[in-house]
Amino acid sequence: MTELILYNVFNGLIIGAFYALMALGLSLILNLSGVINFAHGGFLAIGGYLAYMLIPYVGFWGALLLSPVLTALIGIVLERSLISRLYGRDPLYSLLFTFGLAFVLEDGTRYFWGPQTLPFSVPAWMSTPLSTAFFFITGYRVFMVTLVTVTVIALFLVLTRTRLGVRIRAATTDLEMVSSLGVNVVVLRNLNFGLGIFLAGLAGVLAAGMLGLQPTIGTELIMPSFVAIIIGGLGSLPGTLLGGLLIGLAAGITTVFFPSASEVVIYVMMGLVLSLRPRGLLGEEGRF
């Protein structure tokens, strides 16, 4: 029993790390551009499939780096050419647009790579369990947790220590002021969108290594990511991170006791947070 609980707690944390990675990208875009990017899951799938195609040429490590970069480039092009036209209009329109884009991306991956689950090979040493007693701790899972941790730390360093990051955060608070101080906000939003999509692409490669590749791989992760953002508090990136880990953990623990409720539990948590603390755990008061 202890082992079962441990297993599910560990599993929950890994899933939570995914949610957090995905939700952080969504949050970046939402905070700066006011766009709920429904297509985020589609970009995640693209990241996974690109890695699948790249592995024979550049190996796992090359694909791990290259695929998110390429995904981010696709995101940047789409943002620049189409999504940016919808900024400043009612959020309804960008929401519907990315909703349609999500359909196209999911169906597009199905068209090009087929509906079946594709195997995704990770380096052999990663797939063996590290200990016999705790069979579920494979090298890959440890690697994933490490990589997500490093990525999140790097993201927060970028946002606090680099000029780009400081500008992004400043523009999130007051876009017009930053614009009138001479920052090109069109480029800033564009790069910020790319950064968000980069995180989705990275999550896609990691998810493919754990679950295999399917066209719907991203669609199933997007709703929990919304919940993570709402629980953590809209506008707060640390909140989003916390929210992601919390709901992953909650889903993991629920799986032990009442498996069929593991999906519903996160929405119950969201309802509780919204009624007890409407701005979310770490959200600023009055921002939304």
């Binding site: 349609g100 169906d107 009624s275």
Partner: protein
């Protein structure tokens, strides 16, 4: 475009709807498709009560639509074999769920409101999806069918006669549309418009904005679940995907496509959307891409909706943010 008097326009719409079963065959449709259009139009109009006339963006109406379908199906299957009882339970289930959830979300606005409604909508999807014993899980709720409506003196055989069912749907549609139109013309409806146009000004006038939005939300969701009960009856089946977020998106696009600022907009949008979906999904496996592209094109080029573009009323542009 013909410059139609508003009253003449309404008369034309009703005349077309009343005679639909007799001309829909001539344009390549069939009576059941007509019923489908009317049901989805009812739901899209209900959504538009909130979206177009209160200015609140809900992206989770499928939940209440689906609750209606499941409410009706479960009642007929397990409790009372009666169409009317099933519909009553379905509508009540949607209304109660909306009232409770509305308490939590009525204070949220704009993009936050949209996200919260999307997320809450998923609760019902997962319940329907996971609670196999009762709801049939992924396979949906089958093994029941709508029943003829018995009025004592006469029986309305909506089960075996598609035409009778169409007119039953049209009757429900007319009642719901009538109530919503009357509400919008009332002082309450004018207040909703005021909130849409300028929320802070409405607040300064002493209007309890959150309460109005809550009421509008409950009305909108209640009629959406009425649409859902009819949809369940139409298919003799309740599908967990009726509850999912992609279904919510369909309702929003219907409203936007037809024109959110026009009362008949969602009806036009629903007709185009249903016919297009019916056609595309019979032609290609990749209908998802087509529907997705369709969404993107509508948003980029038809933002004011068809009726907004051709109507003689210069509808105000959606609020800039």
């Amino acid at each position: 475009m013909l410059r139609l008097d508003k009253r003449a326009g309404d008369a034309l719409v009703w005349a077309l709807l009343l005679t639909m079963p007799y001309w829909i065959g001539a344009v390549g449709g069939y009576t059941q498709l007509g019923s489908r259009v009317m049901i989805l139009a009812l739901t899209a109009t209900a959504l538009n009560f909130l979206l177009g006339f209160t200015g609140v963006l809900s992206f989770g109406h499928a939940a209440y639509f689906g609750l209606g379908a499941y409410g009706a199906g479960l009642t007929i299957k397990y409790l009372v074999p009666s169409t009317l009882a099933g519909m009553a339970v379905g509508v009540l289930a949607g209304a109660v769920a909306a009232a409770v959830i509305g308490l939590v979300i009525a204070r949220r606005r704009g993009i936050y409101f949209a996200m919260v409604t999307i997320a809450f909508g998923q609760v019902f999807y997962f319940i329907a999806f996971r609670w196999n014993d009762v709801t049939g899980g992924d396979d949906g709720l089958s093994g029941w069918e709508r029943l003829p409506i018995d009025f004592g003196v006469a029986t309305w055989d909506i089960l075996h006669n598609d035409l009778a069912f169409y007119y039953w749907v049209l009757l429900c549609f007319a009642i719901a549309i009538g109530i919503m139109a009357a509400l919008l013309r009332s002082p309450f409806g004018r207040t909703l418009l005021a909130i849409r146009e300028n929320e802070s000004r409405a607040r300064f006038l002493g209007i309890p904005v959150d309460r109005h939005i809550w009421i509008s939300w409950v009305i909108s969701c209640t009629f959406a679940s009425l649409g859902g009960t009819l949809y369940g009856l139409l298919n003799n089946f309740a599908d967990p995907h009726d509850l999912r977020w992609d279904q919510s998106g369909d309702f929003v696009i219907m409203a936007v496509l037809g024109g959110m600022r026009n009362f008949w907009g969602p009806l036009v949008g629903a007709a185009i959307f249903v016919v297009l979906q019916d056609y595309v999904s019979s032609q290609t496996q990749n209908w998802m891409s087509f529907i997705g592209l369709f969404f993107m094109i509508v948003v980029l080029f038809f933002r004011r909706g068809l009726l907004g573009m051709i109507g003689q009323h210069r509808a105000p542009q959606p609020r800039e943010t």
